[in-house]
């Protein structure tokens, strides 16, 4: 076989493999999207239509009548507050770990890695017990504090790694010029830490927006119910009426997919959390 033919065959093989990967990864989403746009009687049709011959937004309208915007607003408020709190608290802690050999530093590092590893589900029952005793059940504040506690370690870890790449001479120079330690951090270092803050902020935003398990346990009132819990309740409410259910799913993932497409490279550093040093 000639070299050219081998390369050509390889290219065709690669293309087919990629096509299969795309199909497996995205088919459920596209299928859900297509079905959410079909009229109710066409959704359950066998054999199903891949592309709806008749497009309707009726299911999305049903959702709007069922307080969709209210749940979205709850999710948005909780996510935004969690991101703000996580970044404010996490950036400072990451900076301290990166720059100072203070007593107890190793212990703090150990705590960060440990909490980062504790699976949230294993804390669910004890945390519910505590939150109920504190009177924070059914509050957005409770959700924000819990998400912050769970996502803070990864923020600290990412920021720690990022601050390590910024030379210390910068603060030293700023302090010689008369800045206090805190001003050197605030005016010189933080503005340079943008990419680290974006990466950790996106990670926290996604986690808070997507969370279902914590929210379903800690909230029951409609007033504070976030979107994923609402989708879960729609599952009980609409039963086998898949139209509104799939439409709600699409609404819930659309913002995350949009953010992901725009900021893809920042996501990756969040997922690995700088954990792979080889």
């Amino acid at each position: 076989m000639s070299y050219v033919r081998v390369i050509r065959l390889r290219k065709i093989g690669d293309f087919l493999l990629n096509a299969i990967i795309v199909l497996f990864a995205l088919a459920p989403l596209l299928w859900g999207l297509s079905s959410s746009l079909k009229p109710a009687n066409r959704i359950l049709q066998v054999p199903p239509e891949l592309i709806p011959s008749e497009v309707t937004f009726a299911h999305y309208e049903t959702l709007i009548e069922n307080q969709l915007f209210h749940y979205m607003a709850n999710s948005a408020i909780v996510s935004a507050a969690t991101v703000a709190l996580c970044l404010a608290v996490g950036a400072f802690a990451g900076y301290a770990l990166s720059r100072f050999a203070f007593p107890g530093r190793n212990l703090v590092m150990l705590a960060v890695v440990t909490v980062m590893s504790i699976p949230i589900a294993s804390l669910l029952v004890p945390t519910y017990t505590l939150i109920a005793n504190l009177g924070l059940l059914d509050t957005r504040t409770g959700l924000v504090l819990l998400y912050t506690a769970y996502e803070l370690p990864i923020v600290i870890w990412i920021m720690f790694g990022y601050f390590n790449t910024i030379p210390r001479q910068l603060e030293n120079a700023a302090m010689i010029d008369g800045y206090s330690r805190f001003d050197a951090l605030r005016r010189v270092i933080l503005p340079l830490a943008g990419p680290g803050l974006i990466a950790s902020g996106l990670f926290v935003l996604t986690a808070a927006w997507n969370d279902f398990v914590v929210a379903v346990v800690m909230t029951s009132a409609e007033a504070v119910r976030p979107l994923p819990v609402a989708v879960y309740f729609y599952l009980g409410f609409f039963g086998r009426e898949w139209g509104p259910l799939l439409a709600a799913s699409m609404v819930s993932i659309a913002p995350i997919i949009l953010i992901f497409v725009i900021f893809q490279k920042y996501f990756v550093s969040g997922v690995t959390g700088g954990s792979v040093k080889g």
């Binding site: 493999l17 301290a96 945390t127 505590l130 997919i257 992901f260 997922v271 954990s275 792979v276």
Partner: protein, 301 residues
């Protein structure tokens, strides 16, 4: 707030630096203490008492632990968890590794493909499982269309225990192979290309290069990936809660789901906390392993 940070601005002594650093980490430590360590303590306290709804009763020693660990439902859930976690672990790791090797080289196509693979991972687990539940259910018409030609058109995936478990594992691989891929890609990137070039000059075949270079140099990232995946699968709740609901009967009810039901459906908070602690101890073993791999207590540069 600024005043607090600037209280000791004069001088640059060691003690001053230490105090500054401690003030910077204090808020983070406070939050972690309140919402991670205090719950563990409260849960531990509950697990040794008889609890009816929120009324903590008398001290019962290890009664809750005994009743949980001898209950057939819990023992069943441990067996189910083992099947689900190891099945998902092996398949997710293999698929993730294959994807990492396939998409290793940077290029427009590889970058695009990595993004595609990551989509199931970045969307919420709830929606992911809900979409798969829809696709695999008879309502969507997909199983009938696919299985019809095989003559088993009324086969219901969620009514049979093996196929329900297979669906769960499929859900896990679909979502988390991307995680394994990203972790392993980061590891692959850290291997210097010169090593491959040198091996090639010495006439090493691709398979030999993979076995004698890639695998040994990737050991730590592979172990970290495996442990993180295993912890994720042992504790995952959303897959089971949404996709199968633990059914048929309790054939896919994992420990996480059993604990959830004990706590939030039966409101048996004493026993639920006891079971949480048993699972937590299993997690601690894995965490110790992870911390050893991370080496967070290394000296400051």
């Amino acid at each position: 707030m600024r005043a607090w940070f600037q209280r000791r601005r004069k001088g640059a002594s060691r003690a001053d630096a230490d105090a500054f650093a401690l003030r910077l980490v204090a808020p983070a430590l406070l939050i972690e203490f309140l919402f991670v360590f205090v719950p563990l303590a409260v849960g531990l306290y509950y697990s040794f008492h008889s609890v009816r709804f929120f009324q903590v009763g008398r001290f019962v020693g290890f009664d809750n632990y005994l009743s949980v660990l001898t209950s057939p439902a819990v023992l069943n859930s441990f067996a189910v968890t083992a099947v689900f976690a190891f099945g998902s672990l092996i398949l997710t790791f293999v698929v993730g590794f294959a994807l990492a090797l396939h998409l290793e080289r940077d290029g427009r196509v590889a970058v695009f493909m990595r993004a595609v693979v990551l989509v199931p991972y970045v969307i919420s687990m709830l929606v992911g499982s809900l979409l798969l539940k829809w696709v695999l259910s008879q309502d969507s018409g997909v199983p009938q269309t696919v299985l019809g030609p095989l003559g088993i058109a009324d086969f219901s995936v969620f009514a049979d225990s093996s196929s329900a478990m297979a669906a769960l594992i499929y859900n896990a691989v679909w979502r988390d192979a991307a995680f394994a891929m990203i972790m392993l890609l980061a590891g692959l990137k850290s291997i210097p290309l010169e090593l491959y070039a040198a091996a090639r000059v010495d006439g090493a075949s691709p398979w030999y290069r993979f076995r004698r270079l890639t695998l040994p140099l990737l050991k730590t990232p592979m172990l970290i990936t495996l442990v993180r995946l295993l912890m994720h699968f042992v504790n995952s709740l959303t897959f089971q809660l949404i996709l199968t609901g633990g059914g048929p009967v309790n054939k896919t009810e994992t420990v996480a789901l059993r604990t959830f039901r004990l706590g939030f459906e039966d409101y048996a908070l004493g026993r639920a906390n006891a079971l949480s602690f048993v699972v937590f101890l299993i997690n601690v073993c894995m965490i110790v392993l992870l911390v050893k791999l991370f080496k967070p207590t290394e000296k400051l540069r």
